[in-house]
């Protein structure tokens, strides 16, 4: 078997695809909270993607990709049997797993998949684990069954009320608190505004929040400094010092500004891709 080969491709929604890929060296050493960098073609960008699962015995890693720009759309057009051009990892500092008592894992959208291995590691370390899952609508609420099977309690929310509790993850966390649930620490992965407001609320409720940051990266090894973020007033590199950081003092507004830097160019790139691309993903 050749490295980087896609063994399983599963469409989780119109824009979200799960890949199981053969990459034994990464599977052998991956830990919860780490990521890989993918490249799809010559001239292609280096795209950081969270590891959602890995299997040492089979030598496989699992990633879940949401098509947002050109590169992620291209990845999601790859078929079973095809290969990623490059996969580097596992990158980043693993989440420190210890027994906090009760841990809440909070996932928004694809962040649900990304927070899953963290939930599993905390569970294995003897924590009571509560999952709070959020999505815009029912179809985008992924991995709910797996989370329910794993965690001691799972609360799902949708913005439009098409499934579970209508509202945001913050509403669910407030409700858990009001019901007397004592949460010692929170680990949040999702869109930046969601992580910002969830961190703020959890801090207010004394829940020791952490958030996994997704700034723009290039090499992913600490070499370029493109992913610098401000945590507790200090500049940190998300690729090596994170991506998970204690989040009550993260400068999320700075992160939003820095991740928006190339938005017009990214839109241009996607537009050109969609114009030329003959879809082979079977969805369109």
């Amino acid at each position: 078997m050749e490295e980087n080969t896609i063994l399983v491709k599963e469409n989780l929604s119109d824009v979200v695809v799960k890949f199981i890929v053969y990459k034994p060296l990464i599977a052998a050493s991956a830990k919860a909270g780490q990521f890989v960098i993918l490249r799809g073609r010559e001239g292609g960008e280096r795209v950081p993607v969270t590891l959602v699962d890995w299997d040492k015995e089979k030598g496989t890693i699992t990633v879940i990709i949401q098509a947002i720009g050109k590169s992620t759309s291209m990845f999601n057009s790859f078929k079973q049997g095809e290969k990623f051009l490059n996969i580097a990892g596992p990158l980043g500092t693993p989440v420190e797993i210890k027994n906090y008592g009760t841990v809440a894992v909070v996932g928004g959208g694809v962040g649900i998949a990304e927070v899953y291995p963290i939930a599993r590691a905390f569970k294995e370390a003897g924590n009571r684990v509560i999952a709070v899952l959020g999505a815009r609508t029912k179809d985008l609420l992924i991995l709910e069954k797996e989370m329910t099977d794993l965690c001691d309690k799972t609360v799902s929310t949708t913005d439009d009320g098409s499934y579970g509790m209508k509202g945001m993850v913050t509403d669910a966390i407030q409700k858990l608190h009001d019901e007397g649930e004592k949460i010692n620490a929170g680990f949040i992965i999702g869109p930046i505004p969601m992580m910002k407001f969830t961190s703020r609320l959890m801090d207010k409720l004394g829940m020791e929040p952490h958030a996994s940051l997704n700034p723009i990266m290039l090499d992913g090894t600490g070499m370029c400094g493109c992913c610098r973020v401000t945590v507790e007033g200090k500049v940190r590199f998300a690729c090596v010092d994170g991506p998970m950081f204690p989040s009550k003092t993260i400068d999320f507004d700075e992160l939003i500004r820095r991740t928006s830097e190339y938005r017009p160019l990214e839109a241009q790139s996607l537009q050109l891709y969609e114009k030329d691309h003959v879809c082979k993903c079977g969805l369109h």
């Binding site: 060296l25 990464i26 050493s29 490249r39 073609r41 001239g43 292609g44 960008e45 280096r46 050109k70 590169s71 051009l85 490059n86 996969i87 580097a88 990892g89 596992p90 990158l91 290039l218 090499d219 090894t221 600490g222 070499m223 370029c224 400094g225 493109c226 610098r228 973020v229 401000t230 500049v235 090596v240 400068d251 507004d253 700075e254 500004r257 820095r258 928006s260 830097e261 190339y262 160019l265 990214e266 241009q268 790139s269 050109l272």
Partner: protein, 463 residues
């Protein structure tokens, strides 16, 4: 008879007005006539000072003599007896500090243009199919891993392969060459020159692997189970920032980021390539070294109105290679000497809107003998820029040291070596920027070659 008093040939350069809009190589190769005439200026000194001052000991008078006789292939082989990467050294070595700086003709008639002759020899031998990789010794059965594929590691790998060991080079990124690939722009070092030199090393049997970040993908301890010795040449992959307020504003790049986008990711070809880059109308580059010149000249090629190098000392103290400063000036890069950045001014969207600086005068020399900049009170001013590139230096990437407790580092964060050039872990050697913290391609190569010889001795004698 040699003709030392003939004027030094400097070769031709692309017209600055043309080249500042493209990424093609600036310095053009010597014509055969230029090469022979320049070779004819060499006196072939007996105790040649040029050779004695070459970090890798290139046999300069001998290769020039062969070149003069028209034996280009043999001249290339002569260089390659001590330096495997002549096409690269000929282009990026600071010759004025080493060979040419010590040429006997320097003060009277001007040094022999050794850099251009080395490059001519390497490029011509390659083009004519006369470039031969050195012979390798009979296989020893020993395996050596080289970490990183920059100049230090490649030089070590070639030297180790020559001794008959089975060598594997591990690169963290998706392309080989390290700083040659991500740092040095193609208008100074064309990408195919890097490719060719790596092909030469591959042809000696060295295996090259991408996407392995040692310390993450595999630890040093894992590699020690598979290899008899390790050379760590992982470079200075950690940018130094200024720490001034506003440095995380949108529009502030580290030189590493800026150069990596342009050189490794080829962002100047966007949207043909997928990694974007943008500069505004007015770019400031902080620093006075080669990275600062490279960043300024890359920025110039992306089409802003002005690019200004802001350096805290004066022209005399600038560490950059003289030719790069000259080329930058020709291309319209401006120089603001004796300024210290104090704060990045931002607009309401968090974008760079200016750079607050103070002016300096030169004070007493520091420990390296360079005069220290001293701030002039009340000299504060704002440079009206919208893009800032911080090129004030690099430090060793800490990943390997952090994941290998047995490897000791100094207080500067570089790997600690004993007097025999060994790290604190048996079988593990190191060189280049991981022990120097940010030096030149040539010194990195020198370290690689010397460490390889120590590894050869270690594998032979088991000590």
């Amino acid at each position: 008879m040699p003709n030392p008093s003939a004027p030094r040939h400097n070769g031709k350069q692309l017209d600055p007005e043309v080249r500042k809009h493209n990424f093609e190589e600036v310095a053009q190769i010597f014509t055969k006539e230029e090469a022979l005439a320049e070779a004819d200026r060499c006196l072939h000194c007996k105790n040649a000072r040029c050779q004695a001052n070459c970090p890798v000991g290139v046999q300069i008078p001998d290769f020039i003599a062969l070149l003069k006789e028209g034996k280009v292939g043999e001249a290339a082989s002569k260089i390659m007896e001590t330096s495997l990467l002549p096409a690269i050294c000929g282009r990026v070595c600071p010759q004025e500090k080493h060979c040419e700086g010590n040429c006997i003709l320097k003060d009277r008639f001007g040094s022999v243009n050794i850099g251009m002759l080395e490059r001519y020899t390497a490029d011509t031998a390659r083009k004519e199919g006369l470039l031969k990789a050195p012979q390798t010794a009979a296989p020893t059965g020993k395996k050596v891993a080289c970490i990183g594929s920059g100049p230090s590691s490649i030089a070590a790998a070639a030297e180790l392969a020559r001794a008959g060991h089975e060598v594997t080079v591990f690169e963290a990124l998706h392309a080989f060459g390290g700083v040659l690939r991500y740092g040095i722009p193609s208008f100074r070092l064309p990408r195919e020159v890097i490719d060719h030199e790596i092909e030469t090393v591959k042809s000696m049997g060295v295996k090259f692997v991408t996407d392995v970040l040692v310390g993450a993908t595999e630890k040093i301890a894992d590699l020690l189970k598979q290899f008899d010795a390790i050379y760590v040449g992982s470079g200075a992959g950690l940018p130094t920032m200024t720490g001034i307020p506003g440095e995380n504003a949108v529009g502030v790049y580290s030189a590493n980021e800026f150069l990596t986008r342009v050189n490794l990711m080829q962002a100047y070809k966007f949207p043909e390539t997928d990694t974007p880059i943008q500069v505004g109308k007015h770019v400031a580059v902080l620093g006075g070294g080669n990275s600062a010149m490279d960043a300024a000249r890359c920025a110039m090629r992306l089409g802003p109105d002005t690019v200004t190098i802001a350096y805290r000392r004066s022209a005399a103290e600038m560490p950059a290679r003289a030719a790069e400063v000259e080329h930058a000036k020709e291309e319209g890069v401006r120089f603001e000497y004796l300024v210290t950045p104090k704060e990045v001014v931002t607009d309401e969207r968090g974008h760079v809107a200016g750079l607050k600086c103070t002016r300096n005068e030169l004070g007493a020399p520091d420990e390296k003998g360079r005069r220290r900049p001293v701030e002039i009170p009340g000299s504060e001013f704002v440079m009206p820029v919208d893009t800032i590139i911080v090129a004030i230096g690099q430090k060793p990437n800490p990943i390997i040291a952090k994941t290998t407790p047995e490897l000791k580092t100094t207080d500067r964060g570089v790997l600690a070596l004993d007097e025999e050039g060994k790290t604190t872990l048996p079988g593990v050697y190191a060189g280049g920027d991981i022990i120097r913290g940010g030096a030149t391609v040539l010194l990195a190569m020198k370290d690689g070659i010397e460490a390889a010889r120590r590894i050869n001795a270690y594998l032979k004698e088991g000590k």
